[in-house]
Symmetry: C2
Subunit: 376 residues, 2 copies
Amino acid sequence: MRVGVIGAGQLARMMIPAAIELGVELRVLAEGEGMAASLAADHVGDYTDPDTVLAFAREVDVVTFDHEHVPQHVLRTLVDAGVAVHPGPDALRFAQDKLLMRERLAELGLPVPEWARVATPDELDAFIAEHGGAAVVKTPRGGYDGKGVRVVRGAAEVAEWFATVGEDGRDGALLVEELVDFRRELAQLVARRPSGEVVAWPLVETVQVGGVCSEVIAPAPRSAGRLADVAADVAIAVAEGVGVTGVLAVEMFETVDDRVLVNELAMRPHNSGHWTMDGATTSQFEQHLRAVLDLPLGGTGCHDEWAVMVNLLGGPAEGTLTDRYADALAGHPTVKVHNYGKAPRPGRKVGHVTAIGPDLDEAVYEARAAAAALQD
Amino acid sequence: MRVGVIGAGQLARMMIPAAIELGVELRVLAEGEGMAASLAADHVGDYTDPDTVLAFAREVDVVTFDHEHVPQHVLRTLVDAGVAVHPGPDALRFAQDKLLMRERLAELGLPVPEWARVATPDELDAFIAEHGGAAVVKTPRGGYDGKGVRVVRGAAEVAEWFATVGEDGRDGALLVEELVDFRRELAQLVARRPSGEVVAWPLVETVQVGGVCSEVIAPAPRSAGRLADVAADVAIAVAEGVGVTGVLAVEMFETVDDRVLVNELAMRPHNSGHWTMDGATTSQFEQHLRAVLDLPLGGTGCHDEWAVMVNLLGGPAEGTLTDRYADALAGHPTVKVHNYGKAPRPGRKVGHVTAIGPDLDEAVYEARAAAAALQD
């Protein structure tokens, strides 16, 4: 069994251990040399070039992704050539275009923030005026980790986005959403295989700093019962309604008035699911491989009461993460360290740590302290 | 940080995921193409040739092993050249020569079966006569998985061993041991780093069939308290007394009169420790890397009450393990499958499965049933 991954970042890297254990051969098409998944990156090439991607795809049983940026025309070339692509282009376009995603979720009757397609500054200002004087504007395509997302009080603050949004030849429009008054952010991870089976891990709480995931607590505190059920139902409805195959992360807001609203979708293993590597029966990386190969999915139970994941953002100011191991590992022998093998750079995701245990406060402390010892 | 592994079997293969997560670069010197650890096998060469091994060693920070068969003169060449070798030759010789091992354990005052060095059939027959008419004869070097071990009632049964044992230029002698009346077999896994730290995982029970490990139960049932303490003390005494660095497995007999006797040593990750990959905070493969790099060792606690590992011996009569995934994974979604990527062959270790849980009978059932679904 051979799986081809387009993109060689840390998500592809973390698929390698799962592939080794399952006896699945993993091949990676890297954007360049020295990427995080370089161990399995036997191809280097441009993922926007149909010939390059098709040649790569011919050598594997199924193509999947480290990111959602492969253009639709490239994906269609693969499908037309008979290549198994999971998730497929019909699903991926909803992860690639936030306006399409909002439209589709609305069609499915799923709970989303109030939103509108705005093609002009006047339309945006009208939406802002109707929604309390502030709103969130998003470029429909190309954003990640907080890029392409801005809270504004007037259209002038995103004038340059209006100027450029039509440049790719599509109808130029931005997505605007109400500024949701949320209590916290949640994420629901599910996996779906082509033949239909769907499984859900426990709902988690995510903490974002500057638009970038900082911490994840699994399960989300005070989520047992109705909240967990609603979140799982919503995520499964998204997976089925959008036709996602593989792992799907549904980022959600829990509002101050106890609603759950879908924020963003990621159709691949996701930062909110890294805790599964150490805290769950089946990691999201193993599950993604099982799902895209249309194999039966694995259990999603937890090893302990709590799992807390803290991202390593930036890495140490001097040296590398491994330079800190002598102190960090000695002080935190039960914390699991995941090092993406990337050079430190401010804000860059260079790794993560996970602590599991029966006491939430203790797990939070251990994970944060280990992260601090590794990079602060 | 770069670790070089000599040998590319399943033990080297299972070091790769641990190395990826720790951000340690793993290089493997393989005996040939297509070995289990081929993903990291960037060198192919003869591990008995000093120049080949030294060239490999020059590119890494520390050399360690997938097996114990690297000749002493090659190991000495590395040490003389200033290469860090863990475990070192002074420790490894006790894993390479069972007579040396017995002598050393006796010097250390550790509990071992009654044994003797026998250079002639007459000496062997005398030992047998003194020990109830039967004994276990072992070739001091080169045996594994039951090979080179024979229960005999007279020296004539190992006449050909006496004929060949002196051929390697050493003093020709066999090891003979009393036939221990044991209740069961146990194994104690420990890890020791060069700067002295030692940790022990829980004592496990091992089930051998035809000299090959078939099942492991962690922790060993009815072992809490004195038995666990004695076993850990013995294994730590071995690690320190022999100067082992890295993971050490001490195979033991629990006798019918409640003694614990040391049977065999393995100075590397060991089949009796595969359960740690799914059942313990730190897997033996991660721990081995930490130990040989002289990094602080990780926690050895368990994820659940019980872990049961069942070897996949031989694989399916037709096709490969992956051909069985559709049925086996569907029926056993919580069992973890480890596929070494080897072609099936009768008796060959081609993988293992692990089940963990709060109920021992259930875990045993799940692991055995999954193993059967994968290969029977």
